[in-house]
Symmetry: C2
Subunit: 203 residues, 2 copies
């Protein structure tokens, strides 16, 4: 079932990927055959069976050009709300139909992601400005060095910082290397999620 892909099969996979990108629709078996110099369609079908069994693609029986790559070129993450200074992350005003479409060139993983709109200038020390979109992955724990959204309990304030747990306290390091870190006890911080990417549309 989960066998290694042969060279031919990887070549087929690569061809399908570029074909879809260039044409907007998947190739036929014949087109795959010609492109790879395979002698006959039945052999193409044979390889596609293997690729389908390996979970690399899916097909619809008796349906022309129905090859679908399992790893899609783009995916959508929901805009769940906004993040601003002095406030916890707000999920209230989220429109369930409001998505932002991304490619793997922007973020590698694609599960458990959501987007937040930044309001105000309060994230300047994270090099994040008013209007920027932050792509987040939900998690409540942070590993050292991760860029996370943390809530500081005593100030009731949410910020984006790099997280370091070191001998008894937590150091929150601004992304801007010219700014000093914040040192707090572990009980004072609450991790809300990890920052995966920041997108700024100018003008």
């Amino acid at each position: 079932m989960m066998e290694q892909l042969s060279e031919r099969q990887q070549a087929i996979l690569a061809f399908i990927e570029t074909f879809v990108r260039e044409n907007g629709y998947p190739p036929t078996y014949e087109e795959i055959r010609v492109a790879l110099g395979i002698s006959t369609k039945s052999l193409v079908n044979h390889h596609l069976e293997a690729l389908e069994a390996a979970g690399c693609l899916s097909r619809v029986p008796n349906t022309p050009r129905s090859i679908r790559l399992s790893r899609p070129e783009t995916f959508r993450v929901p805009r769940l709300g906004h993040i601003a200074a002095g406030l916890p992350i707000s999920f209230g005003d989220s429109d369930p139909d409001d998505f932002i479409e991304l490619t793997r060139d922007i973020v590698a993983e694609q599960d458990g992601l959501y987007a937040l709109q930044v309001k105000g200038d309060s994230m300047i020390d994270a090099l994040v400005n008013d209007g920027d979109v932050v792509i987040m992955k939900h998690q409540t724990e942070a590993r050292n060095g991760e860029m996370v959204a943390v809530r500081l309990r005593d100030r009731d304030e949410t910020t984006l910082k790099r997280f370091y747990r070191e001998n008894g306290h937590v150091r929150l390091q601004p992304a801007n290397p010219t700014m000093p870190p914040i040192i707090v006890p572990p009980t004072a911080v609450e991790v809300q999620g990890r920052v995966v990417a920041v997108i700024r549309q100018v003008n």
Copy 2:
């Protein structure tokens, strides 16, 4: 030729768009027919003809599922080099096969774009950090308020700033509102391109 689209035709266009996104391949005429409650395929063909004439999509004759929307979901911009402090933009080390794939959710326009990798911390006042990717549009003139890459001739240095031409001089305003502007004579600056978006991949 360039007529207004009827409601039916807009609905067909919208259906094709979501169908492609959900299935990875375009619909057949029959699938369009069923989805929109149209009585017959020939009518679908009729509408597709109109949409094709209007430039909204293209088809390949006698080819199943070959509808292609003219406005693609994703497009690629070349990585042309990098940008660093104290240096003009370097295009030298560009690999012609190195692209970054974007969606319209990231940048609206898609012509004349290129991407630059930022090296070093010198763009901090533009809220741009080491490793960030800047999406640029090539232009040598700037309108007021635009975020541009400018070369300061006397310092032989390239930076990202908002551009304002005001009574005899040029004001270059950092994106970071806590930083002061630079005031220089118009002859001292050379516009290299406009910043369209900034993308930061964290970790």
